[in-house]
């Protein structure tokens, strides 16, 4: 390349650079009185869960703003895709804070993304409400002052299934889980809790399958070969569908008692249609069978707004915004420290009734439903769902405090 050509190329680059880097300067001035909620999530990577989530958020936002907002100010949602990985998420979160001047952060779905943003929140002393990530570390081992979490954690979901697992009184258990932190910690918690409740239990097989790439035939067969009389399943989404179909065809789980995490959530249950595995005891969200008045109100409003039934994502999105509104109202301001103090012990009226953000470990006590899968009109449903309050399965405040780092 000749110098003059290089010059032209460089000038072009410089101009493009300048344009890009100056754009923050040109971004419109913010309306002073709005409360800006910075939200980031893996919309592209986890579309099935997050599309209903977005709708839930927007519904709550509309309701709150129609009622005059919070502390006299309307809420504004600044929503971004976090790219589905921690590197991009940290950049997007920083952008929300510096360029968009949001008052607080919320969102995230994947555990490692949630943990990375939580660490950023701690470092920059920004309030962060993690909406979806399930990792126990978020509120325990890696918990910090500025991070709260709404959804019941992996530990809580496992603990909710524990009474049914113990009641079944089976001796030989097999476990199948996706091979990453969520699956590993669910399997570990399950083994620990069951062993404590039923010391003579034996774990005869453990299958750790690559996420999204389960080789379902061999896995189902390996489990059947171990001749378990009960199975604990942590698979979800496409892996679950593959596994269920293979297990059905091979009659691999005939006569076996199965407890399964999250499988009752419409996001994962509905694609199975009439092949939903009958008799599995699952955690989930049976929107069609909930008698809680607050939920009925939510259900009617959601259906009126979107002409569709809610998924669990809708509940999480809705409850996230409601939580933030309640917290800001209690704090009387959007100041981070005041907001953190307000969230500790904050009571929120959610779609499953009232719940609390615990002061000890910053975990919300919003619960989930446990029921038995059945098939009705060609689709899977949860029979006799029971709402399990999150508070009833969490360790005591004193124990939870011991699980968190000392400085917080």
């Amino acid at each position: 390349m000749r110098p003059t050509q290089r010059l032209r190329a460089a000038l072009f680059t410089a101009a493009a650079l300048a344009a890009a880097l100056m754009s923050p300067v040109l971004s419109p001035a913010m309306a002073a009185e709005q409360i800006r909620i910075g939200e980031l999530n893996s919309y592209k990577a986890q579309a099935a869960f997050l599309d209903p989530y977005r709708k839930g958020m927007e519904l709550a936002l509309k309701e709150i703003n129609a009622a005059g907002g919070v502390i006299g100010r309307p809420l504004e949602l600044v929503s971004r895709d976090d790219g589905g990985n921690p590197g991009d998420a940290v950049r997007v979160a920083t952008e929300l804070l510096t360029r968009d001047k949001v008052d607080l952060l919320t969102g995230t779905f994947l555990s490692h993304v949630g943990l990375a943003v939580a660490d950023l929140a701690k470092r920059r002393k920004v309030f962060f409400l993690a909406a979806e990530p399930l990792s126990d570390k978020l509120t325990w081992a890696d918990g910090n002052r500025y991070t709260f979490r709404l959804r019941p954690s992996t530990y809580m979901q496992v603990a909710m299934l524990m009474p049914e697992a113990v009641k079944a009184n089976r001796k030989r258990w097999a476990i199948v889980y996706p091979n990453y932190e969520y699956g590993q910690s669910a399997a570990e918690t399950f083994k620990r809790l069951l062993k404590a409740a039923q010391p003579d239990v034996e774990f005869v097989a453990e299958q750790a399958t690559p996420l999204g790439k389960i080789d379902a035939g061999p896995v189902a067969q390996a489990i059947a070969d171990a001749k378990p009389d009960a199975v604990f399943n942590v698979l979800f989404a496409a892996d679950l569908a593959r596994f269920v179909r293979e297990a059905n065809t091979r009659r691999a789980l005939d006569g076996t008692f199965v407890v399964s995490l999250l499988s009752g959530e419409p996001e994962y249950l509905d694609p199975l249609k009439e092949e939903a595995p009958i008799g599995w005891v699952v955690t989930g969200y049976p929107w069609y069978a909930i008698t809680i008045p607050a939920h009925q109100k939510f259900l009617d409003a959601y259906r009126a707004a979107y002409d569709d039934y809610p998924r669990l994502g809708s509940i999480v999105g809705y409850a996230t915004i409601k939580s933030l509104a309640a917290g800001i109202a209690k704090a009387g301001s959007t100041d981070t420290e005041k907001l953190v103090d307000a969230f500790e012990g904050l009571e929120v009226d959610g779609p499953f009734g009232p719940f609390v953000y615990r002061a000890s470990d910053h975990q919300a006590t919003m619960g989930a439903f446990v029921g038995t899968l059945a098939v009705k009109h060609g689709r899977g449903i949860m029979l006799d769902p029971v709402y399990i309050d999150g508070a009833s399965v969490l360790p005591s405040d004193a124990e939870a405090l011991k699980l968190r780092p000392a400085a917080n």
């Binding site: 032209r8 410089a14 790219g83 990985n85 590197g87 940290v90 950049r91 570390k137 171990a226």
Partner: protein, 628 residues
């Protein structure tokens, strides 16, 4: 574990092998003839499955379940073949003249576009298709139940293999394909309509992929993650079998499937008091197989050395050192970048974004040292990025070392990895080199993913924040800029030093270089080590910039990002990777904000760039005037 159980699992493996083989066969044929590394191959597989689950119920309504199911599969295969032909005619045909690997950029853009298009048309929820009518049951075998559909699938692989084999050996079309695989230019010189042949081959390859996807209808739901997850497997199978060998592909598919089935069957294994869960190995089984095969047999099981590649584009001009004007401009750009923190509060996001750009620039430039002057396209460069990042993060958090020292540990980790893996990789060339680097990257990834105690498992390590004075956005940015400039200066110095000349000579003609007394493998090994070390520096900066590090930093996605940056910028200029890295980072930051369909948008923009500047931005902007 009884013998019968193992035998039964081995039978299971045959069904999985057929699935793998069908994706890989098409890829192999396409690569053999057109030399296109088709990144969108998994997308056609995914499309095949989506089309099948849509067509089967539709056809089923009018023709009955059985005809609907099989008709759906056939229809899906035909539609994907037609789509493949369309893509070849409209898009790929325009860029055959571009330097090798540039088609990769176009097909990568296609991958992004097809995924978003699928999301748009079919929605985000998984769609589980119907089971095969008449084959939905199972038969008793070895005291266990073997699904009838698995038997059907297990037979389908060999049937397609035989049909393909006969087509390739007994028909005129097949002879043309084999001839074109060996020497494209000769085929063209003999008056064969090359354009038509290429279209037919691409349609055939994508059609087989679509067929393979459609056949999975009875086994798995259509979902949006299939394209990428299948792509990796397809590459592995093709390479393990030997490029262009269909038999090899089948054998490789069988090998991979059986190894996985074995790992699954063994389950918990106790060795010397330690319990190890073999099923965890299924995470990387295929890449372990590939690494072993390529180390032992550099051209795969049935592959032959690749025929010498007649260059299609014009011969590459030697690199020219910066002139006086060039130096002044480089200095001006550097001053602009260094001045970004002065913008202060008005553009407080600028250093954050610029930091990502600077890190990407170092990452891309280090890859370019291998790809450009070295002529060795690494598909697993993220391994050294990740090693650098993890080394830094571990030293900074667990060992509590000060920032500069932790950074040095990161670079050392990456250097060690590059020296080790490089020793194996530089023995190979072309696609085999690329795939061995990919295999090592996947192995590193899986270790980071599984070694909970040291790497934090799938969540990674947190709290990797730098000490003062690097703890502010500006401080870290300036430090990163300094490191990157040093790295770039080193690369530039090396490329124009005798070492660089030797590297380029080895690229242009290995034979002549060796005859001139250049120890080609040693030179390449050194280049590999330097590139890996500098890449590790980029990784270390990344860890400090993000405050955390997770296995995603080593994923295939990041390796591909690196390739895209280098190719987008232009492989023939030292400035190319910088343009590409800056451009892609900026572009992604912008489109992510603009549209929910940002991946598709990004794909479209990349496609546009490829069409306008078929050799990358740096080569495209200023037109060549006369010989340099």
């Amino acid at each position: 574990m009884s013998f019968e159980a193992l035998l039964f699992q081995a039978v299971n493996g045959f069904a999985s092998a057929s699935g793998l083989f069908l994706v890989a066969a098409g890829l192999s044929i396409i690569f053999g003839v057109t030399r296109i590394v088709n990144m969108a191959h998994g997308s056609f597989y995914m499309l095949g499955l989506y089309l099948a689950v849509t067509l089967a119920p539709l056809l089923g309504e009018t023709f009955g379940g059985a005809l609907g199911f099989w008709g759906g599969i056939l229809g899906a295969a035909l539609v994907t073949a037609a789509l493949g032909a369309l893509v070849e005619v409209v898009l790929l045909r325009r860029i055959y003249a571009a330097p090798e690997l540039y088609q990769l950029l176009a097909t990568f853009a296609l991958l992004l576009i097809i995924n978003d298009a699928t999301l748009y048309f079919w929605g985000p929820e998984d769609i589980l298709g119907p089971q095969a009518p008449g084959l939905s049951g199972s038969v008793e075998f070895l005291g266990r139940r073997l699904p009838e559909y698995d038997i059907f699938l297990a037979l389908m692989g060999p049937i397609v293999l035989i049909v393909l084999h006969i087509t390739l050996t007994r028909t005129r079309f097949g002879r043309l394909i084999r001839a074109a695989t060996q020497d494209r230019d000769m085929v063209a010189a003999l008056g064969i309509n090359e354009a038509l042949l290429f279209t037919a081959v691409f349609a055939l390859g994508t059609g087989i992929a679509g067929f393979g996807g459609a056949l999975q209808m009875a086994r798995e739901p259509a979902n949006l993650a299939l394209d990428l997850s299948v792509l990796g497997d397809a590459f592995v199978v093709v390479v393990v079998g030997g490029m262009g060998s269909i038999r090899g592909a089948y054998l490789a598919a069988l090998l991979v499937a059986e190894v996985k089935a074995l790992c699954t069957a063994l389950g918990l294994v106790e060795v010397g008091g330690f319990t190890f869960n073999m099923s965890r190995l299924t995470l990387v089984a295929e890449f372990l197989v590939m690494a072993v095969v390529l180390v032992l047999r550099p051209h795969g099981l049935f592959g032959r050395p690749q025929p010498a590649q007649a260059r299609r584009g014009e011969a590459e001009a030697p690199l020219v050192p910066l002139g006086r004007t060039g130096r002044l401009i480089a200095l001006a750009v550097l001053v602009c970048f260094a001045g970004i923190p002065l913008l202060g509060a008005v553009a407080s996001y600028a250093p954050v974004l610029a930091l990502d750009m600077v890190i990407a620039a170092l990452f891309a430039a280090s890859l370019h040292l291998l790809m450009g002057p070295g002529g060795l396209a690494s598909f697993g460069h993220a391994a050294y990025f990740g090693l650098g990042a993890y080394g830094t993060a571990y030293a900074a958090t667990v060992l509590g070392l000060p920032t500069p020292l932790a950074f040095a540990v990161g670079m050392a980790t990456a250097a060690a990895g590059a020296v080790l893996f490089g020793w194996f990789c530089v023995r190979l060339e072309g696609v085999y080199f690329a795939m061995l680097t990919l295999a090592f990257a996947q192995i590193v990834w899986s270790i980071a993913h599984q070694w909970e105690e040291v790497t934090g498992g799938s969540n990674g390590l947190f709290g990797v924040w730098p000490d003062p004075p690097f703890d502010s956005a500006n401080g870290l940015y300036l430090a990163a800029l300094g490191v990157t400039v040093l790295g770039l200066a080193l690369i530039r110095r090396l490329v124009f030093a005798p070492f660089g000349l030797a590297l380029r000579a080895a690229r242009d003609s290995r034979l002549r270089a060796e005859a001139s007394g250049i120890a080609v493998e040693k030179v390449r090994w050194l280049a590999f080590a330097i590139a890996g070390t500098l890449c590790g520096a980029a990784g270390g900066l990344f860890a400090f910039a993000k405050g955390s590090i997770s296995p995603e930093a080593i994923s295939v996605g990041r390796s591909i990002d690196g390739l895209v940056m280098v190719l987008l910028g232009g492989v023939h200029s030292l400035m190319g990777p910088l343009l590409g890295a800056g451009g892609l980072t900026l572009l992604q930051d912008m489109v992510m904000r603009e549209s929910p369909y940002w991946r598709g948008l990004l794909g479209l923009i990349i496609l546009l760039i490829v069409l306008i500047f078929p050799s990358g931005l740096a080569a495209g902007l200023p037109r060549k005037r006369g010989a340099p």
